[in-house]
Subunit: 350 residues, 3 copies
């Protein structure tokens, strides 16, 4: 498919600077722009690329000021990143979706499959599973007994959902993610061995949740581990049993949330963050990458970093001093010596 | 199934306070207790929930003292958490187990399958595999050539076991876990590229081991990577080649143990801990979450935290000072100034 | 198969000390050496094991000097570790390879399969996939539409490759690894929810790349996430969208590289390292385990450690002082007191 700058500007309600008839058929990053592609500028770090960019069209923010001549046709929009998202979504939606239930899938006789399903080869669907309409299950997914999948759910290849879990509408789960595995619950016994606590609860994903590749959400011991509406979870993330993640919270890769902790809504967690168990984390909390959180956070909309977590400005100041600790130590030892000298002098005077 | 408080108290050898005829049919957490369910109080953090809890029955420790009236019927037991575990296990055991070998599984003609097996669709069982009795293999598991599975082994969907590995009795492996992948062994060459060291060993899991979802245990270069009896490993954990984990050691999620390290028995590792390679870690060592361990630990039953690891009390004290480093630095600079002033004064006096 | 010390020494161009006719049929680690096996000594940490080692043959470096008598026959070579690698590779190559396409695999009619392929049961191969010669796909692998696999590619069981990704020659991907999952791209909207940015790019693995078990490489938003020739990636590693990893860089387990970061060639990353997004990392950079990298690295061949990353010697010095911070703080408070006393004395004198 080809589009002209004019067609794209009309669709985005943007303003053209340059040739409105130039055509594009693909997207490119601004540092790799090629003729016939559309690129965009959003992150100010990348501004310097725009002057040599060979993309035919570049989306920019309305307030962008060029320092030099730009060869590409510009389309000025309110928010270049959101406009790009809109275009990508448009193109994405034109892709033909697969449908049909493969004869190489296993579907229990007691499972209910909604209309317009795509079920690939080697998908396993257990007893009393309920699958609503427009669901896509790629190859080798396993849906155990009594699971419910909402409408428009997409499971990429090799997703595994344990029995009795519930997946809301419009959820997307990436390859290798596991929902509903046993929480890590063991009671110590007198001989030093551990006795397993059966994990009898389940996992509930509300609507519009995305779970990254190879991430794991454990089932509750009792009740439910709950991922609220609009939560986005990256790859290789660990969500322990009885955790609750608030609406629209986003969690970057390799972060882990320990058992029974409740995260508020609209939180942002960087990569490799660790949060201890049985905590309450206030709405809008922000945690920098690799932060370790040992205590509850009571006040909303605060940013933290470090191990253990400090208010982010505090962490930055302390880490600057940390870097200079050896010098500081030498300063202290030098001062000790001077004080000793002063004491000696004073003794000799008095 | 329904049970009365009397029946449960008899089974647990507990004492009833309240109505012995009240009935429950499910479990609930104390903060979510509903009529008709049994709850429990073990963690003192949760005591305040008991006074408003609507659960019909609550298990409490013998020595629990109520500050206010409690509406639920109490059953007092030696250890409320262990009693709960007992009840959960009882209910868990009444669940019907699946059996039979699916015609949609692939089982090599040279594999031996013990009695009472459950082998789900799309399970692959390679040549000369030995599977003992009462084994459950959920959908899409892959058991490569020459693997041995002990009695009562459960593999949830999508577990992969490479050739020649040995899994002991009563082991449970969760979805997506990988046993026996190649260790990370490469020798540098003169042109800057790396030459793979073939990994010829295997992995041995002794009895009663549990491995979490998407965890990985690499095979040894030579000999065996060994997970001893009773070890419990959480999700997304990395165990490198030639590691040995001692009896009854427990390892929380996202922790990594580097090559050839030997962990003692009865150790406890928090989440996201990292342990360097070729170390010896003494029995009963305890590592707080996110601890980084660069050296061997020789003395048993010590607790550590931090990066790099310090004795836990030492870490706590240092991290309190770390938080105040900017103030401390200011104090030092102020002292420098004062010393200078004193020097000047003394010069003027003497 | 059995080999004499003479045969092995001839093959490795090594010198024998001891009985040239002694035979071995297997390998062993030096701390576990048994009669009939060949062991090796490379890491100086393990020297003390050689005097009691029961292996029939031990490979040692040419310059090794024994302090005591050694019972085993020695073969002296230029580099014992590389010689071992050579022998292991030789033995590995004698193993019979499986071939043939299982009738229990699903292969799209539009896919092209090269000669000498092994395709196991329950492998899914989508439309217009191109598979070159000598490829081995173990059970339950999923290769989505339009993927290209080079020659001599091995995918262990349960590898998933999303549509349009390209895998170079001689690549090895371990079980559960995921190539081409969506990058973590969401644009915030006014109501607090996030809108997905469709990820339209792909992943390109160049030749001789190895990817560990359960690692994930996300597809680019636009363009390609690129893993250059000879890169070796361990288990449970996260490579985000639009990342580029330079030639022969090695990355240990559980490390994460954030979006759009470009790593140079010949870098070495320890385990659990985190690198922030949109950075440039110079060739030959070395990062110790658990290091957090917030900024670009411009100067090549430097080593870093810590959170945030410091030059490694700087980190070591600072972490020594960190350990003693409580004492240092006490020293400072004691000095404050002394300065006060001196001030008082001086006031009384003058």
């Amino acid at each position: 498919m080809e589009f002209t700058a004019q067609q794209i500007a009309d669709f985005l309600h943007g303003d053209i600077e340059g040739d409105p008839s130039v055509k594009v058929s693909n997207f490119s990053k601004i540092e790799e722009g090629k003729p016939g592609t559309l690129s965009f500028l959003s992150n100010p770090k990348y501004i310097h690329y725009i002057y040599d960019c060979k993309a035919s069209i570049i989306l920019v923010n309305k307030d962008f000021n060029a320092d030099k001549e730009i060869k590409s046709t510009l389309i000025r929009v309110e928010d270049a990143y959101q406009s790009l998202a809109l275009l990508l979504t448009l193109v994405d939606q034109t892709k033909q979706k697969k449908t049909g239930i493969s004869p190489l899938a296993y579907v229990s006789e007691t499972a209910k499959i909604g209309e317009n399903a795509y079920i690939a080869p080697f998908v396993y669907i257990g007893e009393h599973v309920t699958i609503n309409k427009n669901v896509a299950l790629h190859a080798n997914c396993c849906i155990e007994d009594e699971v419910v999948l909402g409408e428009n759910v997409t499971l990429f290849s090799g997703v595994k959902i344990y029995n009795n879990c519930v997946i809301g509408n419009n959820c997307t789960l990436h390859s290798g993610s596991v929902i509903g595995s046993d929480g890590f619950g063991f009671a110590p016994t007198e001989d030093g061995s551990y006795k397993k606590i059966p994990q009898m609860g389940n996992v509930v994903l509300e609507d519009n949740v995305e779970i990254g590749a190879n991430s794991v959400v454990d089932r509750a011991t009792m009740g439910s581990t709950i991922i609220r509406k609009g939560v986005k979870i990256d790859n290789l993330v660990q969500i322990a049993h009885n955790v609750e993640i608030g609406t629209n919270t986003v969690i970057a890769a390799q972060t882990g949330i320990s058992g029974s902790t409740k995260l508020g809504k609209q939180c942002i967690l960087g990569g490799q963050v660790g949060i201890a168990g049985h905590l309450q984390i206030a709405d809008g909390s922000i945690f920098g990458a690799q932060t370790g959180v040992p205590n509850s956070i009571k006040s909303a909309n605060q940013a933290f970093q470090g191990y253990p977590a400090l208010p982010v400005m505090n962490f930055r100041r302390s880490s600057v001093v940390y870097k200079n600790l050896p010098d500081l130590q030498n300063t202290i030892y030098a001062m000790q010596k001077k004080i000793q000298e002063l004491e000696n002098k004073i003794s000799s005077i008095s």
